[in-house]
């Protein structure tokens, strides 16, 4: 039916839509996909989840919860995820907070990468800023317990750890765009934000050497130490005693007087002579970097001025062997793992500078001089072992501990045996037993 060219059907439809708009509000918007009545969003949930009324009274509340947008994170009816979450817990937060984990970050906090945001944050609300579970360093030290003990027990503390944002003065809790260890920037630029280098005292303390471009953490422990000037606990005597000129030229440059091992030899003559008198010098000792391949010339946390733990230093080049050591530690079949392997103490058996023996093994006889320190090999089993027992496969070899065991570890074998089963091991020599 038409009245002067106007289709009455369309008019009626439009009128109905307009009336429904007045009564029920705007058409269903994606943000209101559950077609909830106006003003009732969070209220409906709180009818049952009463404890959240307390959460809403906290000083800092998640903006979605504050707006009553429970459905921003939860599905009200069904979900494939725990707590009726809209997505996997590890991914949910990143729907909105992508910026905390940028691509190609210099370093990232493990819990952030794993999506374990709840390790640090209460997802609903907290009395701490950024809805954190705890405030200040207390939160960080919940996980980094060793660091907590170190920081609290040292004689000389780094003030920035105790003032202001504490750990967060230097570290970004989520990720660092360019720096390692979640640092806000590299040393020295990070350190120079607080430490003024133009003061006379700064120059005096550094013996007038141009250290403003050097890595401060090559000498100073940013978490505090027992040495004045928070120099790392294990420090080269020349550093703590201010004898920089023993190694470096005039204070106009950081250049050293000699290069590589030749410089260290100036003081450590006997040690270097003994090393060079062995059949096999560890090759890195005589390359362009020399002693500094493994040792820090100034100060470190590790004994003997090592750059890191023994296993990590050795693992710089011998990653394949350290992999065996790691597998052996994790292998449940290895009930009694060799202690040095367990501790990653490679130098219990190897001489890191030089040795007369293959693989830089420190003693002539592995069985008599190394394994016997801990193992009573003569009573170990009824199997004959020792320098007088010739290996029946090869007259140039004798039956030693290493005939059956892999001293650095194995991928998946029990008791660090060379083969995965005892049978397989034994038939290597006892061929007559194969059938």
């Amino acid at each position: 039916m038409k009245v002067k060219g106007i289709n009455l059907g369309y008019v009626t439809l439009f009128s109905l839509w307009f009336m429904s708009f007045l009564v029920y509000g705007a058409p269903v918007h994606p943000e209101n996909e559950f077609k909830l009545k106006l003003g009732v969003k969070g209220q409906i949930c709180l009818k049952c989840h009463e404890t959240f009324k307390e959460t809403l009274n906290r000083r800092f509340v998640h903006p979605l919860l504050k707006k009553g947008e429970c459905t921003g994170c939860h599905a009200p009816h069904t979900s494939s995820h725990k707590s009726l979450l809209n997505a996997d817990r590890a991914k949910l937060c990143y729907n909105c907070h992508k910026e905390v984990l940028p691509e190609n970050a210099g370093s990232s906090h493990e819990v952030v990468v794993e999506g374990n945001c709840k390790t640090c944050h209460d997802s609903h609300g907290s009395n701490n800023k950024f809805i954190l579970l705890k405030s200040g360093n207390e939160l960080c030290f919940d996980c980094h317990k060793d660091m907590s003990a170190d920081v609290q027990n040292v004689r000389f503390k780094h003030k920035s750890l105790e003032n202001g944002k504490g750990c967060l003065n230097c570290h970004d809790p989520h990720s660092s765009a360019k720096s390692s260890f979640l640092l806000k920037s590299h040393a020295p630029s990070l350190c120079l934000k607080c430490h003024q280098t133009n003061k006379a005292s700064f120059a005096r303390k550094h013996m007038n050497y141009p250290v403003t471009t050097a890595d401060c953490t090559s000498c100073h422990n940013p978490h505090g130490s027992n040495n004045r000037g928070i120099i790392f606990d294990v420090a080269h005597a020349a550093v703590t005693e201010g004898r920089c000129t023993e190694c470096h030229r005039k204070p106009t440059t950081l250049e050293t007087k000699k290069k590589t091992t030749q410089l260290c030899r100036e003081c450590h003559q006997d040690m270097v002579d003994q090393t060079f008198n062995k059949n096999r010098v560890h090759w890195p000792l005589v390359d362009k970097v020399g002693c500094v391949n493994c040792h820090d010339p100034h100060a470190t946390k590790e004994k003997k001025l090592l750059k890191g733990s023994i296993v990590s230093v050795c693992g710089q080049c011998h990653a394949d062997t350290v992999q065996l050591q790691e597998w052996s530690i994790k292998n449940p079949k290895n009930e009694r793992i060799c202690e040095p392997v367990k501790k990653g103490n490679c130098i219990a058996c190897h001489s890191p500078h030089a040795a007369d023996n293959v693989l830089l093994i420190s003693q002539h006889s592995v069985t008599n001089d190394l394994c016997s320190r801990c193992h009573e090999w003569e009573t170990h089993s009824t199997h004959p072992i020792g320098a007088k027992i010739v290996d029946n496969r090869n007259k140039n070899l004798t039956v030693e501990c290493l005939t059956c065991h892999q001293a650095c570890g194995t991928s998946n074998n029990p008791a660090m045996l060379t083969f995965s089963t005892t049978h397989e091991l034994c038939i290597q020599c006892h061929v007559e037993r194969i059938k």
Partner: protein
């Protein structure tokens, strides 16, 4: 009967036959089909004194085989023919050699040995008499060098892997400096050098498991391969054959990795063990003109001989 097989059936049958033939014949001759066939092991000298952790072997085109018997601080000169060593092994003991680990023979039969304790290269006459240390002449600055390894090409030019000044020094047969090739900017640790039949210089990075190459007149090495850690644990030594194939000796893995001229992986041979045919911390290997492969099987205190079968 033949009449019953129509045209399209014939085509099908021929195709199926071809497929079977391809499958049957192609598999053994694919790239992975290169195999070492174990020939024999050398355990001792003529007097019965056993080898002790030998690290070096050198062979010429004929029957000459030199073994650097490192643990005994000596060289052994064998004549190897028809799958066995002949009587008349010569023991070469020189005061200047404490711990020989690598050896090469030049075209005149002179023996060059790298001594690990002294970190120097010693020259011996074909009969084993001392001719002196190899002292590079006319080295440009920096004149300091520490050899880690060395090799020689067909023209007796000498290539020294200098880990102190990060370069490969190229010397003429008289030991005069000719040229040097710098190490690349980024690397782990270079442990050996080889030269192929075209004169391409190769060095192996034992830490990163990579091979780098350079033309004889190049200024700097560039990567020939990516990381080969998938195939190799600790490639401490390398050599090449007449066809330009590259052989990496995997010291910790007890095996030999074979690469094509372009660095592509071809095959992995032998494996860690004690039985004949297996290797335990192998050192240097060499290949003679007959294609016989000699490997210093260091921790098994023997030299093993293989033949390449394709």
């Amino acid at each position: 009967m033949t009449k019953m097989i129509n045209g399209s059936s014939k085509i099908l049958l021929i195709t199926a036959g071809l497929l079977v033939a391809v499958l049957f014949f192609q598999l053994p001759f694919s790239e992975g089909a290169m195999k070492f066939r174990y020939i024999t092991s050398i355990y001792a000298d003529d007097k019965g004194l056993g080898l002790k952790q030998p690290e070096g072997v050198a062979c010429n085109g004929e029957s000459l085989l030199i073994v650097a018997d490192s643990g005994n601080g000596r060289l052994l000169r064998y004549s190897y023919k028809d799958g066995a060593t002949e009587l008349g092994t010569v023991e070469i003991k020189v005061d200047q050699l404490s711990y020989p680990i690598k050896t090469e023979i030049n075209s005149t039969g002179e023996i060059y040995i790298f001594d690990r304790k002294q970190r120097s290269i010693v020259r011996l006459s074909p009969a084993g008499e001392l001719r002196g240390y190899l002292q590079p002449l006319g080295l440009p600055s920096p004149s300091e060098y520490v050899p880690r390894s060395f090799t020689m090409d067909r023209n007796d030019n000498i290539y020294i892997l200098d880990i102190l000044s990060e370069r490969v020094l190229i010397l003429d047969p008289a030991g005069r400096y000719v040229h040097h090739i710098k190490f690349p900017q980024e690397y782990g640790f270079f442990s050996d050098v080889a030269v192929d039949f075209k004169g391409t210089v190769l060095i192996v990075d034992v830490v990163d498991g990579m091979v780098f190459s350079a033309g004889k007149n190049s200024a700097i090495f560039s990567p020939l391969t990516g990381s080969l850690k998938e195939y190799v644990r600790f490639p401490a030594s390398l050599t090449t054959d007449d066809r330009g194939r590259i052989y990496l000796v995997d010291r910790n893995g007890g095996s030999i990795i074979i690469l094509g001229q372009d660095g592509s992986f071809l095959s992995r041979q032998s494996g860690m063990g004690w039985k004949e045919g297996s290797l335990n911390y192998p050192g240097q290997m060499c290949i003679n003109k007959k294609g016989e492969i000699f490997v210093a099987d260091t921790n098994n205190s023997r030299v093993q001989v293989f033949l390449m079968v394709e």
